[in-house]
């Protein structure tokens, strides 16, 4: 039954993407670790960190596609779920530092000692255990999405209004996390991490391992997403995306379907954030910035909304361009990003993947409504 569930949505494209993702996860670490630095095929350390980061962005893009592409929920706040997952991981990494901090306090992280706090806030308890932190990586964003979705979907908030609410959510979280009183390191966030599960985060082997873990997480995410999309539930999602009223009058409790996919997607974004933080070595409130969430939407739009594989390509392409441009022409990046979005909207409404799509099963009226109107 489980196998059938996971194979239902499996098609050639997803299979190819899975192979590609897993190949990156094995080949890149091997080329980095096994070959001498002088070898032509050697992958330098900074590339490992970069590719690892792209993989986590790809997972974030996949989670956005699941809600936007298949359920019509244009979330402009998915960066918040990513950041929450990141903070959960960051808190564990902070606790792992232990007495090795600058102030040498056995329990309190440096920033708490600096703020003259005497004891650990209650919500920092448990994060010394990896399993607890791992649970929180999924639960914190999942519960937030569940709560937000519960109220929003029940009140039938749809379209732009929902997008604005999600945007407001991430903005509010950013402001909250900026405050020192919140106990998440304020402006500076969480950083100076030492190790994870006993592995030194600066070591090349750990970085290669993190890249492999990210590729595995992305592969599992893709497998789960394709299974969901390929199931009858997936058909219901597309149905309520295109004609919500019709789905309701057929007897589907639309809110619960939205809540289900929104929560799963948020948890997926949380996992992406948790893998991102140890690879970049810092998490701060800037990750909640609304611009981050919007960027993730652009990756999905560029790669091809509602294709699962497209967003992975989009995330990779845009971020590679960002890495390249912010180094070569720092001022040009935002113009390039804006230009890309305009180009995609006008010329490639179905994204890069749409160019190769000879899928005749799509309607000729390829109604690509970024925000589907509420059905009658």
């Amino acid at each position: 039954m489980i196998a059938r569930f996971f194979l239902a949505g499996f098609d050639r494209r997803v299979a190819l993407a899975l192979i590609a993702v897993l190949a990156i996860g094995t080949v890149v670490p091997l080329l980095n670790l096994m070959l001498p630095a002088s070898h032509v095929l050697h992958v330098p350390d900074y590339m490992v960190a970069l590719i690892g980061k792209y993989l986590t962005f790809a997972l974030l893009a996949l989670s956005v596609d699941l809600v936007w592409g298949y359920c019509g929920i244009l979330s402009l706040g998915h960066g918040a779920f990513f950041a929450l997952g990141g903070y959960a991981m960051g808190m564990h990494l902070m606790r792992e530092i232990g007495p090795r901090g600058v102030y040498g306090h056995p329990v309190l992280p440096d920033f708490m000692v600096f703020l003259n706090w005497k004891e650990l806030p209650w919500y920092w308890h448990g994060f010394d255990q990896f399993w607890f932190a791992a649970l929180m990586v999924v639960l914190a964003p999942g519960l937030l999405a569940f709560a937000l979705g519960w109220f929003a979907f029940r009140s039938r908030v749809t379209g732009v209004y929902l997008s604005i609410i999600t945007q407001a959510m991430t903005f509010a979280l950013m402001l909250a996390f900026f405050r020192n009183d919140m106990g998440f390191g304020g402006n500076n966030g969480l950083t100076d991490f030492k190790d994870l599960l006993g592995f030194n985060l600066q070591a090349a082997t750990t970085r290669a391992g993190l890249l492999a873990a990210s590729s595995l997480a992305l592969a599992l995410g893709l497998l789960l997403a394709s299974a969901i999309v390929g199931s009858r539930l997936g058909k219901v999602l597309v149905a309520l995306r295109d004609a919500e009223g019709r789905a309701r009058f057929l007897g589907y409790p639309v809110e619960r379907y939205k809540l289900f996919v929104f929560t799963i997607s948020a948890a997926m974004a949380g996992v992406a954030g948790a893998l991102y933080v140890p690879q970049v070595g810092i998490i701060n409130p800037g990750e909640f910035s609304p611009a981050n969430s919007i960027e993730a939407v652009i990756w999905v739009a560029l790669g091809g909304r509602g294709t699962l594989v497209g967003p992975l390509i989009g995330a990779g392409l845009v971020n590679y361009l960002k890495t390249y441009l912010t180094a070569a022409m720092p001022d040009a990046w935002l113009f390039a990003l804006g230009g890309l979005f305009i180009l995609v909207t006008l010329a490639l409404p179905r994204g890069v993947l749409g160019l190769f799509d000879r899928d005749a099963r799509r309607p000729r009226t390829a109604a690509v409504d970024p925000i589907p109107k509420a059905a009658e």
Binding site: S231, R232, D242, L250, G251
Partner: protein, 248 residues
């Protein structure tokens, strides 16, 4: 109560939008197995009546009972659909990105909650039933066709097919022949009569030729309540009906 025999019982239903009385003490009784045509000028409250029955709009006052016992004013759209009331919209509303087969599959009577849907396999009996419905609604051989690519008339039929798949006890059909050719209109009348053999149907329609063809009891709505009821000949002869509607 004395009306337990009625399939649908509306008594003194009033709906007000910003001071405008869309329904004004509307009362209507539909018997099991009956087909009823509802006519009336624009703004008479036909669509609002459908909205109240299907849970889209709440009545300010009045009773809406299904099968004599179920109070529809307390339920939402999905729950009412599950009770056995299917609705066809004025504009054909199908799932444009899904195939004809998948449209019917999603409409098929069955579990509607999240987890069962996630794991539901396609059963042979479902495939069989979908084939039957495709025959009935004249979409044979179009199983794999994407609904968005169907003609207007075919979409209307697909939507009727989806209602059939739902296996409702009562079907509400809003202007089924709007935008159809004469041949399609005649075929639709035949289709509705066929459907009426096994379930009750309420048809809202503007097209008088079509209503005549259906040859059923007619209720004339005007300003949110029933103005006249009876055969088409009977209501056509009513001077008040002529004044508000036919005589315009």
């Amino acid at each position: 109560m004395s009306l337990t025999g009625a399939l649908l019982y509306l008594n003194d239903v009033t709906v007000t939008f910003d001071g405008f009385r869309a329904l004004n003490g509307l009362s209507l009784v539909i018997e099991p197995g009956e087909m009823r045509a509802i006519i009336g000028p624009n703004g008479a409250g036909k669509t609002t009546m459908m909205d109240v029955i299907t849970g889209k709009t709440r009545a300010d006052r009045g009773e809406v009972l299904f099968e004599g016992a179920r109070d529809l004013t307390r339920l939402d759209e999905a729950e009412i659909a599950e009770l056995g009331i299917g609705r066809k919209f004025q504009r054909p509303t199908v799932f444009d990105h899904h195939s004809v087969f998948d449209n019917l599959l999603l409409a098929l009577k069955g579990p509607r909650s999240v987890w069962p849907t996630l794991l539901a396999p396609l059963r042979g009996a479902e495939r069989q039933r979908i084939r039957e419905i495709m025959e009935i609604v004249r979409l044979r051989g179009l199983a794999a066709e994407i609904a968005g690519n169907l003609s207007h008339g075919q979409k209307q039929w697909l939507e009727i097919g989806m209602l059939l798949a739902q296996d409702p006890k009562l079907m509400l059909v809003d202007e089924p022949v709007a935008g159809m050719t004469d041949a399609e209109t005649a075929a639709t009348a035949e289709l509705l009569r066929e459907i009426n053999r096994t379930r009750s149907v309420i048809v809202v329609e503007h097209d008088m030729a079509f209503v005549r063809e259906l040859d059923v009891k007619v209720s004339v709505l005007h300003e949110g309540s029933v103005l006249a009821e009876g055969s088409l000949e009977h209501v056509s002869a009513d001077p008040r009906v002529i004044e508000v509607y036919l005589g315009r």
